[in-house]
């Protein structure tokens, strides 16, 4: 930890961030900002909010409640996107994240309802098992040379099937209800599914600074835990990527694998750890939804792996690896979550939902690329 490894820094300059360190000192702060991968995504966020302000400005979307809901949806995608962005910078994919959510939910759900484990123990058990499966994904990828796209496609199918068949065999039904009722006083419920700063929100509602209902309670109880997890995870991932040796290794592995091996980067280990992280973020996602809703379903998380990858790509990370940032993924998740919920507020025909979503995603990415090209040409 601490100072980046000098030899790696200079010998295998990654394509994006951190390269040309001598030259960048001469650039103005503005020019430096323009070269960041997240700049395009930031412009995308602004564009999306202008569009929705026009289409749904008075619909309730821009109230405290509406924005909290949007941030909650973004947070869930963002938690997956953070670890997915690290993995994609290292040049790999994890398509099993969505199924992993269902599988982790089943472990937590059955652990709590059938085997009467305390919630924390059930969550830790899910973390351990899923991290092990993530490690297996990584090990298979680096050992066999089969693309991670295929390896994790297989585990996506296996995990979903396993979740459904195990739950039906043990529970008789593919939904697991009343998970939190076996351990109702556990602080895990508020840690993952609760709201922070509740007294502050009540106080603000009391003083009419924020919306309140007839009873005087705030329209939003507090900041949902998922949003704080999202922000914290993004901060940690950014710090690791930009300030630690492991972060340099991630760029090196995704930028040029051969040179990375030549200078002694433990390529296999880096990838395996990153696969474990994506699996563990899926467990966090599952824990958050379960603690919020109180039930698990073997179908939870369906297609979330695509949501995560879309968010990462909108955020400026290259599909080929070696370039990107967790902050970009954060903004990508914000764009995706905003579009997903914003469309509901425009009250347009839901049959066109996917058309609209597709167009918005394409616009955001094109706009993002345009801004980035302009910015990189300018230097």
């Amino acid at each position: 930890m601490g100072m980046p490894n000098e030899s790696i820094e200079t010998s295998i300059a990654p394509k994006g961030v951190g390269s040309d360190s001598a030259r960048s000192e001469r650039l103005s702060i503005l020019a430096k900002l323009l070269r960041r991968p997240e700049l395009g995504a930031l412009s995308g966020v602004i564009l999306v909010y202008i569009i929705f302000y026009c289409l749904a400005g008075s619909s309730g979307m821009f109230t405290l409640r509406g924005m909290t809901e949007i941030l909650q949806v973004s947070a869930e995608i963002g938690i997956l996107a953070t670890t997915a962005s690290l993995l994609m910078i290292a040049g790999e994919f994890d398509l099993s994240m969505g199924s992993m959510i269902g599988f982790a939910g089943v472990i937590i759900g059955l652990g709590s309802t059938v085997y009467h484990l305390p919630l924390y123990l059930a969550i830790v058990l899910a973390l351990v098992i899923c991290a092990a499966i993530g490690a297996l994904n990584g090990w298979l990828t680096v050992r066999t040379g089969v693309p991670s796209f295929i390896v994790t496609l297989a585990s996506m199918l296996i995990l979903r099937g396993e979740a459904i068949s195990d739950t039906r065999a043990i529970n008789g039904y593919t939904q697991i209800s009343n998970i939190t009722e076996g351990d109702p006083d556990s602080s895990a419920i508020s840690l993952f599914g609760g709201n922070a700063a509740q007294s502050l929100f009540s106080w603000m509602a009391h003083h009419h600074w924020i919306d309140a209902n007839q009873a005087g309670d705030p329209s939003v109880a507090g900041i949902p835990a998922s949003i704080l997890w999202w922000v914290a995870l993004t901060a940690v991932a950014t710090w690791v990527l930009m300030r630690t040796r492991f972060g340099n290794w991630i760029f090196a592995v995704g930028g040029d694998k051969t040179s990375a091996i030549n200078v002694g980067v433990p390529v296999d280990r880096v990838k395996i750890v990153l696969f474990m992280l994506t699996a563990m973020s899926a467990v966090l996602f599952a824990a958050i939804q379960i603690m919020q809703v109180g039930s698990a379903d073997t179908l939870r998380g369906t297609q979330k792996e695509f949501d995560a990858i879309i968010a990462v790509v909108i955020g400026g990370t290259l599909l080929t690896g070696g370039y990107g940032s967790p902050i970009g993924a954060f903004l990508g998740a914000l764009i995706y979550g905003t579009v997903q919920m914003g469309i509901v507020y425009t009250r347009s025909d839901a049959d066109r939902f996917k058309v609209f979503l597709g167009v918005m995603v394409l616009l955001a990415v094109l706009f993002n690329n345009y801004i980035r090209r302009r910015a990189t040409q300018a230097r």
Binding site: L55, G294, D297, M341, Y345, A350, F353
Partner: protein, 314 residues
């Protein structure tokens, strides 16, 4: 110069926004429909047709939303969004009450009248919803199917379940068994035609005493009929099914199918919009559940139903 142009452009955008926004803020009654399945599904497509027709007639602004996958958390977020929009009425299907309870409670607490359709009959009283529009329980439909099969001379029947583990389907099979005094088996099939044919044929060869079949949907029913027709044994069996489709209607008219239970799901879309509009305008609301099915359809009703099918109402 450059900055002034940018300023002008900014002003223009803002003005355009204000015009658009004010156009949206019309004083029209807003109703939201949130279901667990997309309207591209054949069953829900008919529900949506009912919603759209009623919205046009009542001149209200109705949105129809469903999660991209059958994801109850995503569905609860759509309900939350409807509450945030302060709609004057909410129509929901409730396939998993545990996952939706919190959001529905918030809607009721916000004073929004909520009508459950298709599923969620038992939640009406628990959550303080207005009423339920949909079929009677699947158990009761199973009982009714047993009555019809027995009247046609069936001594022993089989319940072909294409979604084993689906609690609702299991209870229909339980109903059939109860109605037949225990003389009903359960057979797991799927939505795949080959799979259905092999399992059904194997089962029927092993159980020659079984002469009655209940299928729990229109596609599995047509798969079973096709399989038996191919083997030339269709005349031996009395078959009933849930839901109506083009295939099942022609099977009805060929007397290959004894009856279909129609859910009349057009009414599940249409009636709640009418009721919620009247509620918003005059405070009127019926006080009990409305059952749209099972409406038994036999070969005599075939033409009438087929005409409605062409209009997208079945």
């Amino acid at each position: 110069m450059k900055y002034r142009r940018a300023g002008l452009l900014g002003g223009f955008v803002l003005n355009a926004c204000l015009v658009l926004a004010s156009a949206h803020a019309e004083d029209v009654i807003k109703i939201a429909v949130v279901t667990h399945s997309q309207s591209s599904d054949s069953y829900w497509g008919v529900v949506k047709k009912g919603v759209d027709d009623a919205a046009k007639l009542m001149r209200v602004n109705v949105s129809y939303d469903a999660p991209q996958t059958t994801d109850m958390v995503a569905m609860s977020r759509l309900i939350d969004a409807a509450v945030t929009q302060k709609v004057q009425g909410l129509v929901v299907s409730i396939p998993d009450a545990a996952a939706l309870r919190k959001s529905l409670k918030a809607a009721v607490d916000a004073g929004i009248p909520v009508i459950a359709i298709d599923s969620g009959k038992d939640e009406v009283d628990k959550l303080g919803l207005k009423l339920y529009v949909g079929t009677t329980s699947y158990f009761d439909q199973g009982l009714l199917a047993a009555k019809r099969l027995m009247a046609a001379g069936v001594k022993k029947a089989v319940c072909a379940n294409h979604e084993p583990g689906n609690l609702v389907n299991e209870s229909a099979c339980d109903g059939l068994k109860k109605g037949m005094d225990g003389n009903a088996d359960r057979l797991e099939i799927s939505l795949d035609p080959t799979d259905t044919a092999t399992r059904m044929n194997a089962y029927l060869s092993a159980h020659p005493e079984v002469t009655g079949i209940l299928a729990l949907g229109a596609p599995p029913a047509s798969n079973i009929i096709a399989a038996l027709r191919k083997r030339g044994v269709i005349g031996k069996y009395k078959i009933g099914n849930f839901d109506v489709s083009g295939d099942t209607l022609s099977a009805l008219s060929n007397n290959e199918l004894l009856f279909s239970f129609d859910s009349q799901q057009y009414l599940m879309g249409y009636l709640p919009i009418v009721m919620l509009t009247l509620n918003a305008k005059f405070g009127l609301m019926p006080i009990s559940n409305i059952y749209t099915g099972p409406n038994p359809v036999t070969s005599q009703d075939r033409d009438k139903i087929a005409t409605l099918g062409k209009k997208g109402m079945r």
